[in-house]
């Protein structure tokens, strides 16, 4: 079959109409694909959210007792004064009270600057340590063995004893002290990192 010029004119409108129909078909497919994709995304998001809450629910059911125990532990920390900004004035009073209570002949101490003992936690609370070097004059070594546990018990911080040096005083001091002790420890508290709200 040979095409003539006028044949193209006769085929022009059917061709254009076919083109329009195919374009409409393509547009319809594109639109429905987009519609379906949006619906699928919504479904996936809903599924993800549901999975997350399902997981949280399962976890909270499994860890209900654990969370309650930890909460009690946290409350205990709060009551012990471990949580919040350090209270150095209280600490000095606690040290003096303890010295008086144990009748220790002498005591000198020095708190160092507070530093964090763990990395950034994304705005959450961070444990900080204040180093303490305390020098004691003792009647006998039992004074030190009484002093340290009471300090751990009564101080409004978590007290970690790092080391102690006990040496004999020759001759004995006028205050009756026979031994000199020097201990290094860290007073640990929990507070939010700088700029963040306290727990």
């Amino acid at each position: 079959m040979t095409f003539e010029r006028r044949d193209f004119a006769r085929l022009r409108w059917p061709f254009l109409l076919a083109l329009v129909m195919l374009a409409a078909a393509a547009a319809g497919i594109w639109w429905s694909l987009k519609f379906e994709r949006v619906a699928r995304t919504e479904r996936d998001a809903a599924l993800q959210t549901k999975t997350q809450i399902e997981q949280r629910l399962r976890q909270v059911r499994n860890e209900e007792q654990d969370i309650k125990t930890r909460t009690q532990q946290f409350h205990a920390m709060e009551q012990a004064g471990i949580v919040g900004p350090e209270r150095r004035l209280d600490w000095t009073e606690q040290l003096r009270d303890l010295q008086r209570s144990l009748r220790l002949p002498g005591m000198t101490y020095e708190f160092g600057p507070q530093t964090p003992i763990e990395g950034p936690t994304g705005g959450g609370p961070v444990f900080h340590a204040s180093p303490l070097r305390v020098q004691l004059r003792l009647l006998h070594e039992e004074d030190l063995l009484n002093f340290l546990p009471r300090l751990q018990r009564e101080a409004s911080a978590l007290v970690l004893v790092r080391g102690c040096k006990v040496s004999r005083l020759v001759p004995s001091g006028a205050d009756g002290a026979n031994l000199a002790a020097e201990c290094a420890m860290d007073w640990v508290t929990l507070r939010r990192s700088a700029g963040a709200r306290q727990p």
């Binding site: 109409l17 319809g28 519609f35 790092r162 080391g163």
Partner: protein
């Protein structure tokens, strides 16, 4: 949908019909004269969008059976064109109808070559159609439709003679295996019922003799003869057409035939044009006789239809696909709604459970981290009590050993740290162990010998080693008797000779 129009051409005139759902509506009759041709052109112009089929019933027809070698493609087409040229020289209105292959080794192909041998009778009409640029689907002959008519009427078509009456002629066709292999037209001088009946009877006998003579039939065979006539004429025809040993007549009611082939416009008389036009409209033969030049408009129409069909199919497929996707989207949205409802319920349950927890200013994850860390810090808590008790037990067994200083540190002692004022401070703690540096002296009195001092010291060290957890290292002995160290002495008793200093380091595992 494209309207369909059928043109019936006989030796005198051309009749036009509009075909719609089995109804044939006459639209005009045109003779081969200049004014009628102009009228026909106007008719075509008014119905330019229709599709046309032209059915010719002319006396000048040729039918030849030819055998060609097994060929395909261009070679076959070229050979058929040559054969048509040989048999029907001078007419372009010819075609070849395949009759199958011979069952011989060479597999030759049998063809029925058919042509309208008087082009002048057809050309004016085809030229008019061409000039009007209308779509001519094809040019067909009445003979081509004979086999189809018998088949539609349920008559055997293996070998039969068909007699039909059209305009003022009777067509006689020999049908073998459904195909008309011979056909001729005889004029009908008397169109009355009696005239038609007589003509059928006489022409059947004449044609039989002719075909026997042409060796297309055997003389002894009985040939079925089917004659189509109006219901009113069937009685007369049956009476005229008496069976003979060679011819067995079967008279077909034309109205019965019309019903069988789906024609709703019943013929008014015995003429069968309408039957053949209906057959042509319902199922046209695959072969037609018009050259491609006259079917150009039809081809263009097919391309137009193809383009529109392509677009339509695309649109329809798109609609189906889109419907499927929209259905899927609807399902997904339903699923999302169900999930959201489920999520809300779980959220409510979660809040219900967490409401029973003591309220804190931190979330559970932070609580977990903080308490875990505190537990680790608590595990690091050490006191020197156990170490001092261990030393106390050892010293109780060694009264001559005097302790001057005890350095206790949590963790393994690596190097002594120096504090302010030069004081040595314990090293940083290593988890799970503690270290003790013991400084003291052996006091046995001035009369004691070196051996006695060393024996006392060794006994003390052994008592420290009783505890298997202790790793005891003597840093400084009361007397340096190792080969690698200098050893001094004299016969003069030195001041403080009864006091011998030592340093012992103890590394031990410690309980928190």
């Amino acid at each position: 949908m494209t309207a369909r129009r059928l043109l019936y051409l006989d030796s005198q005139r051309l009749s036009a019909y509009a075909w719609r759902q089995g109804r044939l509506q006459p639209e005009g009759t045109f003779e081969n004269r200049a004014d009628d041709l102009a009228r026909f052109a106007e008719y075509l112009r008014l119905n330019a969008a229709s599709q046309y089929q032209l059915l010719a019933n002319l006396a000048e027809e040729g039918h030849e059976i030819e055998t060609i070698p097994f060929l395909q493609g261009q070679d076959r087409a070229a050979l058929i064109a040559r054969k048509l040229g040989q048999h029907f020289l001078g007419t372009p209105f010819a075609t070849a109808i395949p009759l199958g292959y011979e069952k011989s080794q060479r597999k030759n192909e049998k063809l029925l070559l058919t042509a309208l041998t008087n082009p002048a009778a057809v050309e004016p009409w085809l030229e008019a159609l061409r000039d009007a640029e209308v779509a001519l689907a094809g040019l067909y002959t009445v003979a081509q439709l004979g086999g189809r008519l018998l088949a539609k009427l349920g008559r055997p078509t293996r070998r039969a003679l068909l007699l039909t009456c059209q305009d003022h002629s009777v067509r006689e066709s020999l049908i073998l295996d459904g195909q008309t292999v011979f056909s001729r037209l005889v004029s009908l001088a008397d169109s009355s019922i009696a005239g038609i009946a007589a003509r059928y009877s006489s022409e059947a006998a004449k044609l039989h003799q002719y075909l026997v003579g042409k060796r297309l039939l055997s003389r002894s065979d009985t040939l079925p003869v089917f004659a189509v006539a109006h219901p009113v004429a069937t009685g007369a025809v049956r009476q005229a057409c008496v069976d003979t040993p060679q011819l067995a007549f079967d008279i077909i009611d034309s109205h019965f035939a019309a019903r069988q082939i789906g024609l709703k416009s019943f013929p008014d008389d015995s003429r069968c044009e309408l039957l053949f036009l209906q057959l042509l409209a319902a199922a046209p033969p695959r072969q037609q006789l018009a050259p491609a030049i006259y079917r150009h408009g039809h081809r263009i129409g097919q391309i137009r239809a193809g383009l529109l069909a392509l677009g339509g199919i695309g649109l329809f497929a798109s609609a189906l696909f889109a419907a499927q996707l929209l259905y899927d989207a609807h399902e997904l949205r339903d699923e999302a709604r169900t999930l959201a409802a489920s999520e809300a319920e779980m959220n409510w349950r979660y809040r219900e459970i967490t409401a029973t927890f003591p309220q804190l200013s931190i979330d559970n994850e932070t609580l977990r981290r903080v308490t875990d860390r505190q537990n680790r810090l608590l595990a690091e808590q050490r006191l020197p009590d156990a170490a001092f008790r261990m030393l106390s037990r050892a010293l109780g067994e060694a009264p001559n050993v005097q302790v001057d200083a005890i350095e206790w540190s949590a963790g393994e002692k690596v190097l002594p740290a120096v504090g302010q004022g030069g004081a040595q401070l314990p090293s940083p703690a290593m988890p799970g162990s503690e270290s003790i540096v013991l400084r003291g002296s052996i006091r046995l009195g001035p009369a004691s010998t070196t051996r006695q001092v060393l024996a006392t010291f060794e006994h003390f060290v052994d008592s420290l080693r009783v505890d298997r957890g202790n790793e005891v290292t003597v840093t400084k002995q009361p007397f340096e008797i190792e080969s690698g160290r200098p050893l001094r002495g004299s016969d003069v008793e030195e001041e403080g000779a009864g006091q011998r200093n030592f340093v012992i380091q103890i590394q031990r595992r410690s309980a928190p």
